[in-house]
């Protein structure tokens, strides 16, 4: 069967490598100063799609919504074996919470044919795990979250194993289906050298424009549009043009996108200040330790 897999991925700041400098003075997060990476569990989602495809055939389409720079993870997807990649970029997507994001993504997925939609369980910048289930609801399809193993596929049915926190659950259902995938599901493959050679020059139209502007800062608008169009055509001929969609193309209702489509708002952001508690240094000697133990027994911390 010619299955259609759609994988949703996100470019995220590497939260493990945040330093003090990553915070602005006003306490907001300085995203631009953080290294941007392929969200780890989205790599597991892509790997799962590629493995199902290897076993059952079909095509893998990868979608991301983000800034133009998010094309980086689409190229990464091509290096690993994605058949088609799509960048959704539009200023009007900014400030979308999970509800608005899932609405925009649902408009995009509805433009495609799909049997299995696959997302990482959660993204490391927010850790919400909400977009997958919300997208499933917007598409009106069934969800299986926390998938931790390669599912089995037979004709119209899928059987998947979920991690339910204190154990496992095997469930079976009819396609189309949305899966969210945990980091335990597989070991994502590395980029294939040959594909990397082929696709490293793949670009989205917005990147081409940026490049022209960087090379020719005083180019006028008409010339820019013309030149960009020409370059896009050349890339497209080589199969290296990354598809780019905006909210107009998606025919999205703007009332459900960005800030106006987001019921949740930020009241306040605080950077973590480690609580300075009353503390004492204890000598690592026999006496020092014995004194500490004595104190803890005295104040009944230990029985």
């Amino acid at each position: 069967m010619d299955y259609k897999y759609v994988v949703l991925i996100k470019q995220v700041p590497d939260t493990k490598r945040i330093t003090g400098k990553a915070m602005n003075d006003d306490g907001t997060v300085n995203r631009s100063a953080l290294p941007a990476i392929f969200n780890p569990e989205d790599l597991n989602a892509l790997e799962l799609a590629l493995q199902i495809k290897e076993e059952h055939g079909g095509t893998v389409t990868v979608i991301t919504m983000g800034l133009p720079a998010a094309s980086g993870i689409l190229r990464e997807s091509l290096y690993r074996g994605a058949d088609r990649v799509i960048l959704i970029t539009d200023r009007r997507c900014a400030a979308s919470d999970t509800l608005a994001t899932s609405y925009i993504l649902s408009c995009a997925v509805k433009k495609l044919e799909y049997d299995i939609v696959i997302c990482g369980r959660q993204a490391i910048d927010g850790d919400t795990a909400q977009v997958g289930p919300q997208l499933a609801e917007k598409l009106g399809i069934t969800q299986i979250t926390y998938v931790e193993k390669l599912p089995e596929l037979e004709n119209e049915h899928i059987t998947a194993q979920r991690n339910i926190g204190n154990g496992q659950q095997q469930v079976r259902g009819k396609l189309p289906m949305l899966l969210t995938v945990t980091g335990d599901a597989n070991e994502p493959r590395v980029a294939a050298a040959r594909k990397m050679m082929k696709y490293k020059k793949a670009k989205a139209p917005t990147e081409i424009e940026q490049q022209i502007k960087a090379e020719r800062p005083d180019i006028d608008e008409d010339a820019l549009v013309k030149l960009a169009k020409e370059k896009c055509r050349q890339l497209d001929d080589k199969g290296l043009l990354i598809e780019q969609w905006d909210l107009d193309f998606l025919e999205a209702d703007l009332g459900w996108c960005g800030r106006s489509g987001s019921p949740t708002k930020v009241h306040r952001i605080q950077s973590i200040v480690l609580a300075a508690k009353e503390s004492k240094d204890v000598e690592p000697t026999r006496q020092g330790i014995a004194d500490m133990i004595h104190e803890l027994i005295e104040d009944k911390t230990i029985a």
Binding site: P13, T15, A22, V29, T98, L99, S102, D125, G126, T128, A129, Q130, P133, Q134, A136, E137, K138, T142, Q143, T145, R162, I164, N166, G167, Q168, Q169, Q170, V171, R172, G173, K174, S262, P263, T264, K265, V266, I269, Q270, S271, I272, A275, K277, S279, K280, D281, V282, E283, P284, T285, R286, G288, I289, A290, M292, I293, L296, I297, T301, I302, A303
Partner: protein
């Protein structure tokens, strides 16, 4: 879409499986009670399942004024679609102002589906909930008595307070173990309200083929004293030090994510953002540097002892007792000191 309803109640989703109530909704009851008192509205639990009548009484004892019960054979086993459909219907009928869910696998699977269906906001994995006022930046419009949904973000590097002021209910999932469990009051009275929801086989799109549940090997949340080891312990063999110290103290052995990833101990013992959140009387961190992700799971401990040979370890910033030294010397000394104390006490009793 549901608008602002100041008369709305405060609700807790009472997650149960096979007739057994989870801990997290009970933990949430204490907080929900407190919020309902501030807002001067009723607090209610929403209970779904099949033959679950006796659980409703328990929820009243834990602080609910009302329990909305949907008892239906089709709700016997949790499925996202059937549960989401049922809860959406009761939410739309009563328009609560706040709905809280435990951030369990079930809560994190269900709550976003509900939020999407009723087009409401949802904040994931909150560590605190408060009531407060918010002034809109542009218009200066004041919104009083909103639910402040406090949660760590960016891998625990920042704390964000999230609100929703125009589309309600205000919904949040809350991390397991962060709210102290209230004590039940068996004399409490409340109202049990039976709700009917039409469900069909179409609301159960999945077949549950198999389910394996296992009891966690250790109940870290219930432990009064915890001894946790980190990567600094060095090896699985050397992790015996942690077990021995825990043994002498009658404590639960635990670990940082790094130690679990290195295979020193099972994941059930992991404390931190991706493990269990604990608040014991005493937490002994041995060879744990104390990354923010680890601190997220243990910083509420009443007393913290940190043993580390690196003076710059972040764990020292939150420790009450800082022991800069080699854990291979310090831990045996602690074991010895503890044993001597016990012997002395026994001698004293014998006299």
């Amino acid at each position: 879409m549901i608008g602002v309803n100041r008369e709305g109640e405060v609700w807790v989703f009472a997650e149960q499986h096979q007739g057994k109530l989870e801990d997290t909704p009970l933990e949430l009851m204490g907080k929900a009670r407190q919020l309902a008192n501030i807002l001067d509205v009723k607090m209610a639990a929403v209970l779904l399942g099949s033959n679950i009548g006796q659980i409703a009484t328990k929820l009243i004892q834990y602080g609910a004024d009302k329990v909305y019960v949907v008892d239906n054979p089709l709700l016997e086993n949790f499925q996202t679609n059937s549960y989401a459909r049922t809860i959406c219907q009761v939410i739309q009928k009563y328009e609560p102002q706040i709905v809280m869910y435990g951030a369990t696998v079930t809560g994190r699977d269900l709550a976003p589906r509900i939020a999407s269906q009723i087009k409401a906001g949802l904040t994931a994995d909150c560590t605190d909930l408060q009531i407060g006022d918010h002034t809109e930046a542009g218009s200066g419009k004041l919104h009083k008595n909103l639910l402040f949904q406090v949660r760590p973000a960016f891998g625990g590097n920042i704390i964000a307070t999230i609100i929703n002021y125009d589309r309600w209910p205000q919904m949040a999932t809350v991390r397991e173990g962060v709210m102290p469990m209230p004590s039940p009051d068996v004399s409490r009275q409340g109202k049990i309200i039976k709700e009917q929801v039409q469900l069909s086989a179409a609301d159960l799109p999945l077949t549950i083929l198999e389910e394996h549940k296992r009891e966690k090997k250790v109940d870290l949340k219930a432990a009064r004293v915890i001894v946790a080891g980190g990567a600094g312990v060095g090896s699985k063999n050397n992790f015996k030090l942690i077990w021995n110290l825990a043994n002498v103290l009658g404590a639960a052995p635990a670990a940082s994510r790094a130690a679990v990833d290195l295979g020193f101990i099972d994941h059930d013992h992991q404390v931190g953002q991706t493990g269990t959140t604990v608040r014991p009387s005493l937490y002994i961190a041995v060879g744990i540097s104390g990354a923010i992700q680890h601190q997220a799971g243990m910083s509420e401990s009443q007393k913290i002892i940190a043993i580390n040979n690196d003076p710059d370890s972040p764990i020292f910033q939150i420790a009450h007792y800082k022991i800069l030294g080699d854990l291979n010397e310090v831990v045996p000394r602690m074991i010895k000191a503890l044993k001597e104390k016990t012997i002395k006490e026994e001698v004293a009793i014998a006299k």
